[in-house]
């Protein structure tokens, strides 16, 4: 019986271990090893930290990473600010069918691929696009307006792509807040702002933090949206990695960039957790 139980346990664990080791651990080790190679001649390599040195010595790379991180943070913040009232409405203000319908509505954009979604925004924002034409028709502007190929367009795309990943954890945590507690907050003299600050937000904190982590990481690792909507001004870190690997044939530097992205984004998430006094266990549990 005991051996059977052990066997069952091992069988249950195997897919997880395989997944962790084959799809996560081994590729990362491989990437790390590649990142430590330095090309010294045609087909000749030696082990060194030269690629990491390049990352820190070339201000362009550091700057690109910084820009990516800041833009991702801003996108996360905007997503939170938009998603919070939406989630609150879904979780607390409506019930039953309307609730599921609205929740489903948040899911709808994800029924098409990211590429199609991004093309959709390009059609809306481009100079000969829908927004530009509507503004001209309304007489608000004289000529065509280009809304594509700037940071604003990237932001719109990122927020749109990330919305669901913020709404889901927020709705879940907000739904777990009993109406009674909110009412008690008002009953004891609180107004909308203080109830939000002292009761709703502290309660929703685990959802806020986990939503923010997911959205931040998704934005940081997004390639398609910044490249397509940002055009000549995109300058996204994943783009750098892509071009090192594919265009420059420089896998070594690309691997070093990839590893730096992993380390720096982990550090940022860790810092955010510390700053908000949350722990990963609390957030994910």
């Amino acid at each position: 019986m005991r051996t059977e139980a052990k066997l069952g346990f091992a069988l249950l664990l195997t897919p997880l271990l395989l997944w962790l080791s084959l799809l996560i651990f081994v590729p990362h080790v491989d990437i790390f090893l590649v990142s430590l190679r330095e090309r010294i001649g045609v087909g000749q390599y030696q082990t060194s930290l030269a690629n990491y040195l390049t990352f820190f010595q070339e201000p362009l790379y550091l700057w690109t990473f910084l820009r990516t991180a800041v833009m991702s943070s801003v996108a996360t913040l905007i997503t939170l600010v938009i998603a919070f009232p939406v989630s609150y409405y879904i979780a607390k203000m409506i019930k039953g069918r309307a609730q599921s319908a609205l929740f489903l509505l948040c899911l709808v954009p994800f029924w098409v691929s990211e590429l199609v979604r991004t093309f959709g925004w390009m059609i809306l924002l481009r100079e000969t696009g829908v927004f530009s034409n509507v503004l001209q028709y309304l007489g608000l502007v004289d000529g065509p307006v280009e809304m594509l190929y700037n940071d604003g367009a990237i932001m719109v795309g990122l927020v749109y792509t990330s919305m669901l990943f913020m709404v889901v954890p927020l709705v879940t945590t907000l739904e777990s807040l009993p109406d009674e507690i909110i009412e008690a907050g008002y009953d004891l003299g609180g107004n909308g702002i203080s109830v939000l600050r002292e009761i709703i937000i502290p309660h929703a904190m685990p959802g806020i933090v986990s939503g923010c982590i997911v959205v931040f990481m998704l934005s940081l690792g997004n390639y398609l949206t910044p490249t397509m909507l940002g055009g000549k001004e995109s300058l996204w870190f994943t783009e750098l990695i892509y071009s090192q690997f594919i265009v420059r044939f420089n896998w070594e530097l690309g691997a070093a960039f990839g590893f730096m992205l992993l380390i720096l984004s982990s550090a940022i998430v860790w810092g955010m957790l510390k700053l908000t006094g949350q722990s990963l266990e609390k957030t994910m549990g």
Partner: protein, 366 residues
């Protein structure tokens, strides 16, 4: 002296359905007022209208003589202890109690002083730094009350706050709540579906059914002089029979039940005439049980029968007696004096009660 709380013709309709129908009552300062009723009778709706979470469809609510209809919940001099207490889990005990004071803009040191004082008063000094989930059910209860009481409300509303507690604790908290009310000297309005809570604690009780009050009175009034059949049936236990009036003699009347028993009861001033359908209520403790019929000679209702079941429950033990004539069953309190210790299922017994104890009401179709 003006009442602390006056409700005048209070009405609430939800999309055409009337939940509260022209309810009026007045609660004098410092009293413990309960609204007792089955779930769905509209008592919670009344409470939420007083607290300000619902807008009445019609009628007025006055607190200390002033209408509060246009005052939002956070400005009303009324606080509420919620069914599940609604302590803020994200704050410690001191912050929970100090929440309302902070909202009122009181200084930090003063808040700390008031919180300590409140904790002292509820008998839980020094627990301010603890978390909500570290407290027992009874302690949470007291903290929830203290959290409201530091704000010195004119009226404290309590929405079945004992419902979630286990039986033993509930019994103790009944006594404790009553003494807390006396200590704070504040008007309590308490809603419950548990009659024993209402009977034990209240100065006055309103029995509510289908959106309106059936009777407002002291516990004794409700128990001994119910105005309506609903109150007689809802408050305390009763034997209840339906029958037809066969004879009236002053305020006494004789009736024949549907199963064929002949009983005598009183109308207590209600106009009941021969031929009318009535419900008669007799409390189990009003029925006397005896081994010999002779002992019951002074009662004008007498039945001989056999014990069909024994319901032992300490001081509240009962037996169910089935009449020999096969005319029905009667629930009877069993005195624990030892005299009936040998009673078993099937024993022959005699029971009887005076007609004063048989409260008759005109039968309502239900």
């Amino acid at each position: 002296m003006t009442a602390d709380l006056d409700c005048i013709d209070l009405t609430k309709q939800f999309s055409g359905v009337t939940a509260v129908d022209q309810v009026s009552f007045s609660v004098p300062p410092g009293s413990f007022f309960s609204i007792l009723g089955p779930s769905g009778c509209g008592k919670t709706t009344i409470m939420r209208m007083i607290a300000g979470f619902l807008e009445p469809t019609d009628g007025d609510i006055l607190i200390k003589g002033k209408s509060v209809l246009n005052v939002p919940p956070n400005k009303r001099p009324v606080n509420m202890v919620f069914q599940h207490l609604a302590l803020f889990p994200m704050m410690n005990i001191a912050d929970n109690i100090g929440y309302g004071l902070r909202r009122a803009g009181m200084g930090k040191t003063e808040i700390a002083y008031k919180v300590d004082e409140a904790l002292e008063r509820i008998g839980l000094p020094g627990i301010g730094a603890r978390k909500v989930d570290e407290l027992s059910g009874g302690q949470k209860q007291r903290v929830a009350i203290a959290r409201c009481m530091v704000l010195e409300p004119d009226v404290l509303l309590l929405d079945e706050p004992l419902g979630a507690l286990d039986l033993k604790l509930r019994e103790r908290m009944k006594v404790e709540l009553k003494s807390l009310q006396a200590a704070f000297d504040t008007t309590f309005v308490y809603i419950t579906h548990d009659q024993s809570e209402a009977l034990v604690m209240s100065d006055k009780i309103a029995v509510m059914n289908n959106g309106s009050f059936e009777q407002v009175g002291t516990a004794r009034d409700l128990y001994y002089r119910p105005d309506t059949a609903f109150v007689a049936g809802f408050v305390g236990d009763s034997n209840r029979w339906r029958g037809q009036v066969t004879k009236t003699e002053g305020h006494c009347l004789e009736l024949r039940t549907e199963t064929g028993m002949t009983l005598r009861g009183v109308a207590n001033g209600r106009a009941l005439s021969v031929g009318e359908q009535v419900d008669v209520f007799v409390r189990p403790e009003a029925v006397r049980i005896a081994h010999e019929q002779a002992e019951l000679s002074r009662f004008d209702n007498q039945i001989s029968g056999k014990v069909t079941s024994l319901l032992f429950n300490g001081a509240a033990s009962r037996v169910i007696v089935s009449s020999d004539a096969g005319l029905g069953e009667v629930e009877v309190n069993l005195p624990q004096s030892g005299e009936f210790a040998d009673l078993v299922k099937g024993s022959d017994v005699h029971i009887g009660w005076s007609s004063d104890q048989g409260n008759c009401f005109a039968a309502r179709e239900s």
